[in-house]
């Protein structure tokens, strides 16, 4: 009996879906647009989060010591900094390595290379590259260092540029999310209205049937269920289309994302796939719930026989 009821509901919903095919297409299109808008937001969020993490990993403070500072003094500073809870890692670059790095960087510039060769002593000091546990910890580390007895040993520090970069990305991401969220909410609202209207039209075309059903003793759920099933169809079909639409979008933006990260290894598709069930599962549940609520409201007045 349960199976025959389900088949009846399914058959009725499917017939109604096809008999009003243009209305069904319009409804599904709006839901797909809502999904694409939300998925675009999610993609942007994934890319910006990854970008911020990549930059955070690359951020460090380089402490450039005076050339006359000895190795033991640098190591003393290193052990002092290691004792700080905010510090994650410290890399020591000796004077010799620092000179090598400098020469490598300027190997095209013969004037610099020949000038260095003429010098008797190494003019470049050692460097400590300090990585904090969190990007927010850098100002605190800098402050501790500036107020310590070691501040005089250091001739230069670099940090400010990274902070600016991260703030810009964060701001862009936050603003985009705000606009995207509003757009998605508008789309969802419109989608709910369109589903409401579609179900109303479907009910209107079946109004005499509904009245007769009521008079021969049909329960409200017997009458409602095919329309709710139709609303569920819209959600499922729209979700399938938006799944089919999202991968070409991901493939399209992949080269731009690779360029941005300067690597071919990062795949936006793989990252999106990690959240596949969370994204589409939630979207499907949300749209089905929204459709069911719209349909329940739409059918209410026709059940008062």
């Amino acid at each position: 009996m349960v199976l025959s009821s389900f088949l009846r509901i399914f058959k009725f919903a499917w017939q109604s879906f096809w008999r009003n095919i243009w209305l069904s297409i319009a409804t599904i299109t709006i839901i797909v647009l809502a999904f694409i808008s939300i998925n675009s937001l999610i993609i942007i969020k994934l890319v910006t989060d990854t970008a911020i993490n990549v930059i955070k990993d690359k951020v460090d403070i380089s402490l450039y010591f005076r050339p006359d500072v000895t190795e033991s003094q640098v190591q003393e500073v290193q052990s002092y900094l290691t004792s700080l809870t905010q510090v994650k890692d410290i890399t020591y670059v000796s004077q010799a390595d620092a000179l090598e790095n400098f020469k490598r960087l300027h190997r095209q510039d013969s004037v610099i290379i020949s000038s260095l060769d003429e010098l008797d002593s190494n003019p470049i000091g050692a460097t400590l590259q300090v990585q904090a546990k969190n990007i927010e910890d850098y100002p605190a580390i800098m402050e501790v260092l500036n107020n310590s007895k070691y501040s005089g040993l250091i001739i230069d520090k670099n940090f400010d540029d990274h902070q600016l970069y991260i703030t810009k990305i964060k701001n862009f991401s936050d603003n985009f999310n705000k606009i995207g969220l509003i757009t998605s909410l508008i789309f969802l609202f419109v989608a709910a209205l369109i589903v409401f209207n579609t179900i109303r039209v479907a009910i209107y075309t079946h109004r005499s049937e509904i009245a007769i059903m009521k008079l021969v003793g049909a329960s409200n759920w017997f009458i409602r269920s095919p329309f709710l099933m139709e609303a569920i169809f819209y959600g499922i079909i729209a979700c399938l289309i938006s799944i089919a639409a999202v991968y070409p979008i991901l493939n399209f933006i992949q080269p731009y994302v690779s360029n941005f990260f300067l690597t071919e290894q990062y795949s936006i598709t793989n990252q999106f796939n990690q959240y596949f069930w969370e994204i589409f599962g939630l979207e499907l549940v949300a749209i089905i719930l929204l459709n069911i609520i719209s349909s329940l409201i739409a059918i209410r007045r026709y059940l008062k026989v």
Partner: protein, 226 residues
């Protein structure tokens, strides 16, 4: 079986459709409710099927007080009452068989059981062999027989017929009345709502006459007196 106790029905703002109606219909009775248009006959029928609620009074069907029936219990009530309408209320896109099956589906009866029951009901109403026809392919009388078959298919104890001959010629009307009498003989209580003098006078059963929302006569073997 059916009891109207001091039933009053006022349609907003102040239309008195029924005024203090008292009526007791016994099981297996055949009762005709007669009266001119707008006297409250259909309101009485709607109160019996819980389409309308009385403003005052009490209505009891088969021992069940349905005066303040809960919405979720209305389908249960309607499955125990067969209702026939003047305009047949058949679904044009369904065959005779499907129209009757539809009423069984509503009660959760499966297709196998439907195939057993429907031919029996079609035999009673004299439509054997016409199960695959669509309503448009039938005469008015035949359409009304389909409607009666549909109302009988869940073996109701009460059959309410609201102007069942209203859209039919005299020959078809006679056939429908004969069918209702036959159903009554099987033990079903029949309430016939009509303003057709000829039909009522030919039945020789109890006649309740309504005028302006009030019962003005109740005769055991009556005639159309208005």
């Amino acid at each position: 079986m059916i009891i109207f106790k001091n039933i009053q029905k006022i349609y907003p703002p102040d239309v008195d459709a029924l005024k203090d109606v008292n009526l007791h219909i016994k099981p297996k009775e055949f009762v005709s409710i007669v009266g001119r248009s707008g006297t409250g006959k259909t309101t009485m029928m709607k109160i019996m099927t819980a389409e309308e609620r009385p403003t005052k009074g009490q209505i009891i069907i088969g021992g069940w007080d349905i005066t303040n029936i809960r919405p979720r219990d209305i389908p249960i009530l309607r499955r125990q009452i067969g209702v026939v309408f003047q305009d047949f209320k058949l679904l044009g896109k369904k065959t005779v068989f499907e129209n009757i099956q539809f009423a069984l589906e509503v009660c959760g009866v499966d297709a196998t059981r439907s195939r057993e029951v429907i031919p029996q009901v079609l035999k009673i109403v004299g439509l054997t062999g016409k199960e695959d026809r669509y309503p448009i392919q039938l005469s008015g009388g035949e359409q009304q027989r389909v409607a009666i078959a549909r109302s009988l298919v869940h073996r109701p104890k009460i059959l309410i017929a609201d102007e069942p001959t209203g859209n039919l010629d005299s020959i078809n009307s006679r056939e429908i009345v004969d069918l209702l009498l036959k159903i009554n003989e099987f033990g079903t209580t029949v309430v016939l709502v009509s303003h057709n003098r000829e039909v009522i006078n030919s039945i020789s059963k109890r006649v309740v006459a309504l005028d302006n929302g009030t019962i003005i006569s109740d005769q055991k073997v009556g005639k159309y007196i208005l």
